[in-house]
Each structure stands twice: as C-alpha cells, then as structure tokens.
Symmetry: C2
Subunit: 264 residues, 2 copies
C-alpha cells in the first residue's frame, strides 16, 4: 500500500485524487489546499486541511499546484527527507526544495474539469533524483493502470512543448475549420469522423507516412483556390505556413508560395 | 437494387468498390479503367473494361478519377441522360458534361491504400442537379451504412478546404511533435494518447470550449521558454502564428509576441 498526501486543488489534483481513491494499492491519507473550501466537498472521503503544519506522514507528497507555486510550497513543507513530487510538465525537478527527496509525477494528458479520466490512457512521466524512488513512482502509476516512462527534465520539457503542438495547436486548427464551416452554414459534425480518423491513423503509422493532400502533392491549382476561398488574412497565413512546412518535410518543392503565384 | 458502373482505379474507387460489393442493395455491374492492369486483380469479381464504348447500362456511373480528369472523361461517355456522379471534394458539379444527369458523391474521409474503411464513419456529401436523383444518392450512401448530407458545390469546396486544416495540417503538427521528440530520443508513443484524447474531446464539445494551454492563458513565461526550446526557425514561426491565432479567438491579448519580449 502506498500512502499519499495531496497538495493542490486544480484539475490534475482532482483527477489524480479520484484515480487514487479507486486504486486498491493506494491510500490517500490527506488532502491539503490553501483554501479549504475548494476541497471541502471531499471532506467526507478524505482528511482535508489548509494548514501545512498539520500534514500527516506519507510515502509521497504530491504537489499538484500551479507551476509558479511549486518552489515556494516545497520550501514551506515542515519536514525533511521525505519524498516530494510535482506534477508539472515544465518545472525543473531542482526547483523543489532540496531538504526533501525530489521527484516528478507528470501525467501527459488533457484533463477536462467534468469528464471522467481513464488513466489507462494517461502516460505518466516519472523522474526521481534519488534512484530508489523510481520504483515507488512506477508502482504508483501502475496502481492507476497508467503506463510510466522515465523521463528527465529536458525530455519532459520537450514533451510539454510537443503537447502544445498536438493538443492546443491541433485544437485551434479544429476551431478554424469550425469557423470556416459555420460561415457557410455547414454542420461541423460532418468533419468529426475525419478528425477521429486523422488521430487514429498516426497510432499505427508515422505522421510522415500518413500525410496526403494538396501540399504534399504540390497541387498548386488547389492550393491557390483554397487561398482564394479563405477570407481571413490570419487563416491564409496559417494555410501558407503549414503548406510550406509540409513541403519542407516531404521535399515537394523548393519554392515558397510567392505573392505572384497567389494572384494568378 | 442499385446498379453501379465504376470508372477510375484510385484509393476512393477501390474502397467504394469494396464497400458496394459488400452491400446487399448494390450491384457493381462493371469497372472501367483506362489501363486495365490496375484493376485486373478484381477481374474475377466484376466485369472489367478499358473501353468506354463497352460500358454497360447502370443506374449510376461513378467517376472516381483525379480532379483534372473528371470533365474530360464525362465528355467521352458514349451515352446521354444517364446519372453520372463524380467523387471529388473540389470539382464543380457543372464541370460534368451536361449531356448526362449530373451528381456528386463525395466521401469526406482520409483513405489509406491498405487499411480497410468502415463506411459507417464516412460522411458522404451528395448533390444532384436533377432533384429526384437525390433519393438514389441517399440510398446508395445508406446501402454502405454511410450518413449522407445534401451539400452544394460551394459548401463542398468549403468542406474540402476545412479538411486540409483538420487532416493535412493537423497531421503536420503531429509530424513536428515527432521531429521535436525524436531529437531528444523520446518515444513518440508517449504522445499518442494525447493525440487521441484531443480528437475525442471535440466530438462532444466545441473546439472553442476544448481549448487550454499557455496561449489561451497568455502564460508569457511558458510561451517564451517554448520559443527558446524550439531550434527550427520554421517551428518557431508556426508556434507564434498559432499562439496568436488562439489568442485572437479567445481575446486573451491584443499584443502580438514581439521580438523584444522573446529576447527577455
């Protein structure tokens, strides 16, 4: 049995808390938050506190707080040489106060406030400054059916950056498609199966192999017509930049899309 | 029973052919291709030909050929007043020769050559110049378990453009993440669940509601660190442009990311 004290009350904290509560091999012994009211609704399932001096003993203290609060909160902890982990994709492990044993337990997934999270679909990036702690971190991930990966700080920051591309930026491309179809009174629903299939395809083949379309084919006629169709200058810019990025990747053309061509 | 003659031998033709072969209410009576050898392997399941003068009688002739070939092939058809449909997302319905009844049967999905296609996950955009033909097009889609949508040429071209954003461009963002993680010797597999979840999220909530991350929060510290981490100038440009697009959408900031800020 692994005993856990939670600190913080954000999305990650809440979802992890629920997963640990359901895990046979984990016991959440306490939940701390600066403002008790944010976690008071859990008061009947776990001991809650807003006083750091009150913190109980546990195998691991999980600091699921905002990036900016991690260092400060770790300094305030009133004990030494216990295992303390943050859950951030970008904060350096050395930002944790060195009076304790330092670790990272970073779930690489997007969490919605309300939706339930299936942790078997959440890779956990683990890191421990004291090597023997890797086992506990790995067991903790396993207890909620998550796959864990030993990842150093630089790699974790690279993953965090990559996540912005495949989550935030991809989602923004969905948004742009939504704007474009809305303007023509087309149901966005028609595009949903393609969104699903595009994500599904790269589960088995590389994005390089999965690529198709006018940019890869260097189908200038279609590219020019698409640029004409786009009304927003920003959308045109995104279209041109990503088309050129695809062509760089696939060596389709050495020529950029020039102004001259786009007015043909 | 709907009788179909297929023309063309590309991905769309092949996948549609297989779906129609498996459909109880459809009979593929013939498959034409300019070069017989491309379809000769199907010779034992359907009559094949490379001679347009040989075309059999059918309820619908499906021209699943490249965009540039549609008009020309439709002119060469040696009959009149029959139903002829192309399968393109971007070609105008009026590009089909008017001696026949004109229609569009455009499956909005990405097709891989080898993977089997589940047509229940393929929306079909249908269009008919002669209104009564809409029923046959709808029945044809239904016969392969596809949902059909009545879509005019302008809307179809908008969907085709949107598909470039949510398929080709999204896939290129996956590719960039692959490049970034590869450079740090990180398994791309770690990102796959996030790719899946990002696509899944917008099946139920709008991309606007689904957005999270540093751009939306206007978390300048993280944005600047990410820009520093990116080694490729092209990737930096894409990061800045999509960050700014997210901020336009969510009204997060009125200031662009200036050179001054990025050297802080």
């Amino acid at each position: 049995m692994i005993s856990v004290v939670f600190l913080g009350a954000g999305n990650v904290a809440t979802h992890l808390y629920k997963a640990f509560q359901n895990a046979e091999k984990v016991e959440v012994v306490q939940w701390y938050n600066r403002t008790k009211s944010s976690i008071s609704s859990y008061g009947n399932t776990v001991a809650i506190t807003d006083d750091l001096q009150d913190l109980k003993s546990a195998d691991i203290y999980i600091l699921a707080v905002s990036d900016d609060s991690i260092a400060k909160l770790s300094r305030k902890l009133p004990f030494e040489n216990r295992l303390v982990a943050h859950t951030s994709g970008s904060v350096n492990i050395h930002d944790l106060d060195k009076k304790n044993q330092r670790a990272v337990f970073y779930p690489l997934q997007t969490f919605s406030k309300d939706a339930n999270v299936d942790f078997s679909q959440v890779p956990i990036c683990i890191q421990a400054l004291e090597k023997p702690n890797n086992k506990l971190l790995k067991d903790l991930a396993k207890a909620i059916n998550s796959k864990s990966y030993k990842i150093n700080t630089e790699q974790r920051q690279t993953l965090h950056l990559s996540a912005v591309f495949i989550n935030n930026f991809v989602n923004q491309l969905y948004r742009i498609a939504h704007e474009i179809t809305d303007a023509e009174h087309i149901e966005f629903d028609i595009l949903k199966p393609l969104i699903t299939e595009t994500a599904k395809k790269v589960q088995n083949i590389s994005p390089y192999m999965a690529q198709t379309g006018p940019a890869k084919r260097n189908d200038k006629k279609t590219i020019q017509r698409h640029l004409k169709q786009l009304e927003s200058e920003k959308h045109k810019k995104i279209y041109k930049l990503l088309t050129s990025s695809i062509q760089d990747t696939h060596g389709t053309t050495t020529k950029p899309i020039t102004k001259k061509e786009s007015t043909k």
